[in-house]
Amino acid sequence: MERRKTTGDMSAAELADVLAQVRAGDAEAWGELYGQYAPAIFRFCRRALPTREDAEDATTEIFMKVRQKLGTYDSSRPFTAWLYKVASNHCWDLLRRRRIRQDLETGDLETLPLEHPDPDQLEQLQTEHDSKHVRAGLAKMPDRARMALVLRYYSDMSYDEIADTLGVRRAFVGVLLLRARHQLREILAEGGGGMRTAAAGGKP
């Protein structure tokens, strides 16, 4: 799965050439690499972090790290995957450092009952809310839940990658994603949507 977003259309050969030049200390090549990927990383950060200012800061800091760590990049693997890995790790570290993350979140997720949605209401929710609503709802979500959704549905990370980034067991990633979806539904519904989860056991 490799659908990470970038700007421009640098070919694999060109990218390899640019990376080699950056490693050799070529400032212009670094500028080119930055111009190619910084907007995409900003968009990722904008979704993973609560505010625009956080995203701008994080983008800058991520590229500082990239420049420092470029020597450790294994060129046999996709560069964008490595770049997004660095970015997601940085964003998650940032949130953890700020102690925004709820320590109780894990426990809540494991103990809260999963309520089945009504498929009709779920579809109605999707028709009533556009991308702006979703993005606004995302900003209101707990950090771990938001990160999980962004990593999975924006960055197309695998369950293994998500587990590694968020520091959870792989088996827990599915629970995390499902609970995140539920939280997003609740937030959107409270914001005027028509979605309400059905009582447990009420549906299939």
Binding site: R43, R52, L114, K132, Y153, P204
Partner: protein, 536 residues
């Protein structure tokens, strides 16, 4: 198989189930309508989430988009640097230097207030350690501010070395002190005629009488001070009464209740005084700067006069320009003014027809704020002009630095931090500027800081106006739409500002919010820019 739960459905859709389990789900879905509907709804939700997350509904900041051109000459940076240097030179030569020169004419001759008032005077003689400590504290404060601003660059040891080196050099350049004689009265002190103090003299007494000569400066802390002798340095007096009948070669700086000048001052007079009188025999060879309650000047003044006083009576000879702000002004028949005469008064000036004025006096009547008439069309015309001025300022700001303009206006959204920073900088920056004046860095930098602060205060209304317009009419794109929104916002702010009493507080809040937003925008621009770092 029974109905499967939502967790299983999600894992099935995301291909996370093992083969056997997935096969079981697949088989059940083929026969169960409810589970098929659930699966379909979750699948659609996944698609909807992806599409929503991928939608680009927000612009990427310019500094994250622009990549340096390959091999191109950085003309933009060169131009910006050239313009910046030119602007700095213009500001210095056009604004700061004239102020500094004016200050020098008024007796502020030694580059910075600290040196002038204390360290080259007798007042501070023998207090080298204290001087070093005070200067160090002032410089350390500045240094901490600089380090705070550059903290993200401090990974580069050169920047740190430059800052620390500058501080060390500033300390190393501090002027040296000299010794002084310190006299305490019991309760009075008299320096008899014929006696000479060969250094500076510091006197603390109930009444101090100086009939002898002092080769250095005379500093007094006394209820009453009379100077009949010859002071070759400056006279600095903190007292209730000061009478100068003798001769002072340097400056007189008086912080007194009553100041009577009958003698000669070689350089300048600067005084904050309740009552001030100069006898017709008195001579001041430099300039005179006064902040006085009642003031009567009958003597000869060679240089300029700058006076802020409750009432001012001029009946002497004034060699150069006169600039006065007074409650009441009277110009007597013996008055001679060789230069320009400008005055702002609250009541019509009383000017004797026998007074000899080189040019017609320019006298304007200043009204109390409470005198402004809300029913006068002229008042509203004046407000319209003020609105137009702020709009033109915003227009220039928008055209010259659109990115900063929009960033600052956008920063108003962060109301709490903007207010916090606004209040902090509103009060802290002038204090820092005054501290700068008291350090070796000098008056020039202090005045520059105050001017930038004043510009930021004015720009605050523009920033808030632009933000308010955006809030009312919705976000816009393009310069034209932004100008329209700014004009509307400024109009509303000015209209609210007209409300008695409430308007003042609204304006205060606007200044705090706008100033804070400007600070936040500047902070954003000061963050490390990797692209710039890459091409250095």
């Amino acid at each position: 198989m029974n109905h499967f739960d939502e967790m299983t459905a999600l894992l099935y859709l995301e291909q996370q189930l093992d083969t056997a389990h997935a096969q079981e789900v697949r088989g059940h879905v083929a026969t169960c309508n409810d589970c098929r509907n659930l699966l379909r709804a979750l699948e659609l939700e996944g698609v909807w989430l992806r599409q929503s997350l991928e939608a680009d509904d927000e612009s990427v900041p310019a500094h994250l988009v622009q990549a340096p051109e390959r091999g191109g000459t950085p003309w933009g940076w060169l131009s910006a640097f050239g313009l910046g240097a030119g602007g700095a030179y213009t500001m210095w030569s056009g604004f700061v230097e004239p102020w500094r020169a004016q200050a020098a004419q008024s007796g502020f001759t030694q580059g910075n207030l600290l040196t002038m008032l204390f360290f080259s005077g007798a007042f501070w003689k023998g207090w080298d350690a204290m001087r070093s400590l005070t200067e160090f504290l002032a410089l350390a404060t500045l240094g901490v501010l600089v380090i705070w601003l550059l903290r993200r660059h401090l990974r580069r040891t050169t920047a740190f070395a430059v800052v620390m080196g500058a501080m060390v050099m500033a300390l190393a350049l501090a002027p040296a002190g000299q010794a002084a004689e310190i006299k305490h009265g019991n309760p009075n002190y008299t320096l008899a005629a014929g006696e000479v103090i060969h250094t500076d003299l510091i006197v603390s007494a109930d009444a101090a009488r100086i009939d002898g000569d002092v080769d250095g400066d005379l500093i007094t802390f006394s209820r009453s001070v009379t100077v009949n002798g010859h002071i070759k340095g400056d006279v600095i007096s903190f007292s209730e009464e000061l009478h100068v009948n003798g001769m002072v070669d340097g400056n007189v700086r008086a912080f007194v209740k009553e100041f009577q000048l009958n003698g000669t001052v070689g350089r300048n007079v600067m005084s904050w005084v309740g009552d001030m009188n100069t006898d017709e025999k008195s001579v001041v060879n430099g300039t005179m700067t006064l902040g006085a309650g009642d003031c009567t000047l009958n003597g000869k003044l060679v240089g300029d006069l700058l006076s802020f006083s409750g009432s001012l009576e001029l009946d002497g000879s004034l060699g150069r320009n006169v600039m006065v702000r007074a409650g009441h002004l009277r110009v007597g028949p013996k008055a001679v003014v060789a230069g320009e005469f400008k005055a702002q008064v609250r009541k019509p000036a009383d000017i004797s027809p026998d007074a000899k004025l080189a040019s017609p006096p320019v006298i304007s009547i200043v009204e109390h704020d409470s005198d402004k008439s809300y029913s006068s069309p002229r008042y509203y015309w004046h407000q319209t002009l003020l609105w137009g001025a702020s709009f033109i300022f915003g227009l220039v700001m928008l055209l010259l630095m659109p990115g900063f303009f929009f960033d600052a206006a956008g920063a108003c959204k962060r109301t709490v931090p903007a207010f916090g920073f606004g209040i902090l900088f509103l009060f802290a920056l002038p204090i820092v500027a005054i501290i700068v004046c008291f350090t070796i860095v000098g008056i020039g930098v202090g005045i520059t800081s105050l001017m930038l602060w004043a510009i930021a205060l004015y720009a605050a209304q523009v920033v808030v106006g632009a933000w308010l317009g955006d809030r009312l009419l919705g976000p816009s794109t393009g310069v034209g739409a932004a100008l329209g929104r700014m004009a509307l916002g400024l109009l509303i702010l000015r209209a609210i500002g007209l409300v008695p009493h409430l308007g003042f507080w609204i304006n205060f809040l606007v200044i705090c919010l706008g100033l804070g937003a400007i600070v936040l925008a500047i902070y954003r621009y000061m963050r490390p820019n990797l692209q710039a770092a890459a091409v250095v």
